[in-house]
């Protein structure tokens, strides 16, 4: 028995110049906010951008983006709708508000299905909001997607960074490129995370201070792009992604 779907994934992704998996070792570090804001910031810089929510059991980018009534179109596969200037794909189109408990094999199958069916246009960037940790989605994506690069999000907490070490170790072992580490929700002046990141031989992309205005900007891309979070992400994108 042969699963024919994986053969077509390369073709589905071939028009995308850069695929960025926004990942973290643990949850609650602001990964989805950074992934969504990065996609919006790149789109504002006139890049063609897609955003793909792979956090199947806890999707949230649709709320951050304010993607209320968007629906994909069925046309020789699935065409993602344009939401706030971004081609946006999520399992949420099919699950709505229902809880969707998925085990590892189900995550893999849903991931393969979406990768094989979704027909992205020509894109400069596809930003992927990953589930936290080093579970099935991360392993499958590494297995199935060529030219994948990781952007890792942590907080200033040593607890978060310890899980980053495990994620970066896995990626380095598998020779998967790491764009760098972003320190999010920073509330102190210490350079500990920067130093530890550089000690691992990984680029430290920058610090994003804790921004109390972000919560009120959720669902409103104009407000979101005015936050300090967005300003910092624009800097990171300009310095590390756009000119490369």
């Amino acid at each position: 028995m042969i699963d024919p779907r994986t053969t077509i994934i390369d073709k589905r992704l071939k028009k995308i110049s850069k695929i960025i998996a926004v990942s973290s070792g643990k949850g609650g570090v602001g990964k989805s906010l950074i992934a969504t804001t990065l996609a919006l910031a790149l789109a504002k810089k006139n890049c063609k951008v897609g955003l793909f929510d792979l956090d199947f059991t806890s999707p949230s980018t649709h709320i951050i983006l304010g993607a209320k009534d968007a629906q994909p179109k069925e046309e020789k596969g699935i065409i993602p709708p344009i939401v706030k200037g971004i081609e946006y794909m999520s399992l949420i189109y099919y699950t709505g508000d229902h809880a969707t408990p998925l085990r590892g094999a189900d995550v893999s199958n849903a991931l393969i299905e979406l990768l094989s069916l979704t027909r992205w246009n020509e894109l400069d960037f596809l930003v992927i909001d990953m589930p936290p940790g080093i579970g099935d989605a991360v392993l499958d994506l590494i297995r199935l997607v060529k030219n994948l690069e990781f952007l890792i999000v942590t907080t200033s907490s040593q607890l978060a960074f310890e899980t980053v070490k495990k994620l970066t170790s896995l990626l380095q072992d598998l020779k998967v490129p790491i764009i760098g580490v972003v320190e999010n929700m920073k509330m102190n002046e210490t350079k500990k995370i920067k130093q530890q990141t550089e000690k691992l031989g990984i680029t430290f992309l920058g610090e994003i201070p804790y921004d109390p205005n972000v919560e009120a900007a959720i669902g409103d891309e104009t407000k979101l792009l005015e936050t300090t979070l967005a300003q910092k992400i624009k800097e990171i994108a300009t310095n590390n992604l756009i000119h490369n």
């Binding site: 699963d3 809880a99 998925l102 849903a110 299905e113």
Partner: protein, 192 residues
């Protein structure tokens, strides 16, 4: 993609109010207006107008057919087949793939070196097994509304959002048989 012709009255009352499209299609039309209405009722499919009463659907079976063709070509090359005689495809009931549309898409997509290849499509019933209580049951026992059936059609795993074990109400079940699409076997002649 699939083509359907319909009677003038059906077109005016049921098709035209829903879709307006440009012309972007090829191949011949078949006369199956009942199937057309069936698809209209369950799919938000892209559609193109061929002539006055003929429409063309670009459905997601097309993407699955593309995957089957690409895999067949890859395996034929790997195995050194000079000719592929027959490909047996199994489709799981859970994904509700339209067999005629898949067959049509395969016939349209197959490259010259698969010109004489026969694609045999068989359907497998979907069996589910509860991980909590061990109960096994068939997917066909569920009466799903149109939107739910549509969602599962695209991504079968979203069944976990809508279906629960009829015995213990747990959503933690395994799809033991009949999920999606598989190539069961490929018959061909090896190069000598």
């Amino acid at each position: 993609m699939a083509l359907f012709t319909t009677k003038k009255e059906t077109w005016q009352t049921k098709v035209q109010p829903i879709y307006k499209g440009g012309i972007d299609c090829f191949s011949r039309a078949s006369s199956q207006s009942s199937k057309l209405i069936h698809h209209l009722s369950r799919r938000n499919a892209a559609i193109c107008l061929i002539d006055a009463y003929t429409v063309c659907f670009f459905m997601h079976e097309w993407a699955l057919a593309e995957a089957v063709i690409a895999t067949t070509v890859q395996i034929a090359e790997k195995e050194g087949l000079k000719e592929v005689k027959e490909v047996t495809i199994k489709i799981g009931e859970l994904q509700q793939i339209e067999r005629d549309i898949l067959q049509f898409a395969l016939s349209q997509l197959k490259p010259a070196n698969l010109k004489n290849t026969k694609f045999r499509i068989t359907q497998a019933k979907t069996q589910l097994k509860c991980r909590a209580c061990g109960n096994t049951w068939l997917f066909q026992e569920h009466k799903l509304d149109k939107n739910t059936a549509e969602a599962i059609h695209f991504i079968p795993e979203v069944a976990h959002a809508y279906i629960k074990c009829p015995k213990c109400n747990s959503p933690d079940f395994e799809i033991t048989k009949g999920r999606g699409i598989w190539i069961e076997n490929i018959k061909g002649l090896r190069q000598t």
